[in-house]
Symmetry: C2
Subunit: 223 residues, 2 copies
Amino acid sequence: MSDTIDRNDERAQRILDAAEKLITHYGYDKTTVGEIAQEAGVSKGAIYLHWNSKEALFDALLWREVTRTMKSILAYVETDPDGGTVHGFLKGMLKAISDSALITATYAQDQRILGKHLLRRDLSLLDHRFVVYRDALTRLAQVGVVRPDINPAAVAYILNAVSYGFFNLPLPVSTLSTNLVIEVLGDILERALTPEQIGGVDAGRRILVEAIQDLVSRLSTRG
Amino acid sequence: MSDTIDRNDERAQRILDAAEKLITHYGYDKTTVGEIAQEAGVSKGAIYLHWNSKEALFDALLWREVTRTMKSILAYVETDPDGGTVHGFLKGMLKAISDSALITATYAQDQRILGKHLLRRDLSLLDHRFVVYRDALTRLAQVGVVRPDINPAAVAYILNAVSYGFFNLPLPVSTLSTNLVIEVLGDILERALTPEQIGGVDAGRRILVEAIQDLVSRLSTRG
DNA sequence: TTTTGACCAAATATGCATATTTGGTCAAAT
DNA sequence: ATTTGACCAAATATGCATATTTGGTCAAAA
């Protein structure tokens, strides 16, 4: 990871902040390195002291957002009472992703923001998520957090599908809020997946933490 | 609705069959009227005896598919034991839509198949579905088919979201089949939405039949 | 009366020269 | 040692003439 040449980390962060602001607003293709430099209050050359291409800068930005988001989900899983359950995990995940315009764009495969060629890479991300979810669900069933008779693969696919729809469909103009939808979705999953007597929620936390770490490591090694 | 000048209905159907085959394969933009004529075994002029533009032909094709699909869903709602429930309805709907490549493309907003400008119209379709679902869920709760404490708007949005994901996400290469996913999704919704003692399934059928008819009528009057 | 397919205007695609923008560099400034 | 911004090649955008395709028509054929 990281063809970054991090010397002055504070400045690097400032540049990433500027890039985030501009790219989430205008998109990768329409944002120039010069504009990022201007927004960050540095020269264009300074940017190339940190990364050796615009794409590397974007990768660094994406990576920062991924790790931030994953950390947020991890904190949710580890501290929330429902953090060890599937519905708790999904709630934490949807909330964390909603907080990051870039990660939201990644999930929504938003070409206007991510640029043309950068979409390709993220296609395999779906497969990664499916595998990680499926395996986690299998283990969660073994420790009694989810019903033993669910089909892990099918449920994993459905979790992906509903997440995809969530980030792609605009909310109808009504009293509906993002958080309300997330709560109701969590409620649906809780009722559908929880066994008569739930158990092993702490084991569930461990499983989900590992799943998140697994997903991150799969992202860090591009392929 | 229908600037069709239907004289010879058998031939019109044959032309629509040809158009369906070519458009679902090559897309609206890449399919020419001449090719449709050739595939249908008629002259190009003959097509314009039925419809006065390529777009009108496409509208007729789309409308045929919509009514077919809706009829299929109606039959499911009216005959299936679970037809009066939300999960039964969604199962019937997903299956019926999966049977039509064109309607699937509509749900997936597949620009390659639907062509450039035709996407615009269908954007309001999402709003229509949301309203119809929400109102149907409200009534279904009143007759005891779904739990009275659900949020109809949120659930309506989630049904749209999961359907959207279903038609947009490819199935992972595994033992997962379309029907299996539909069954598991139906199972999830059944567990999540069904009250302790369910009642009024026949009233539910009527509500859902009306909802479907409502949706069709909203589609027929474009706007 | 019904159907056809040659025909045409309009739209779309292609090729190409020119103009502009932009990612990336590096000698000079700090 | 660090940072800058003028500079440049490459990519992208623009304009335009030409070529091709295609939606739609209608006089003639069946």
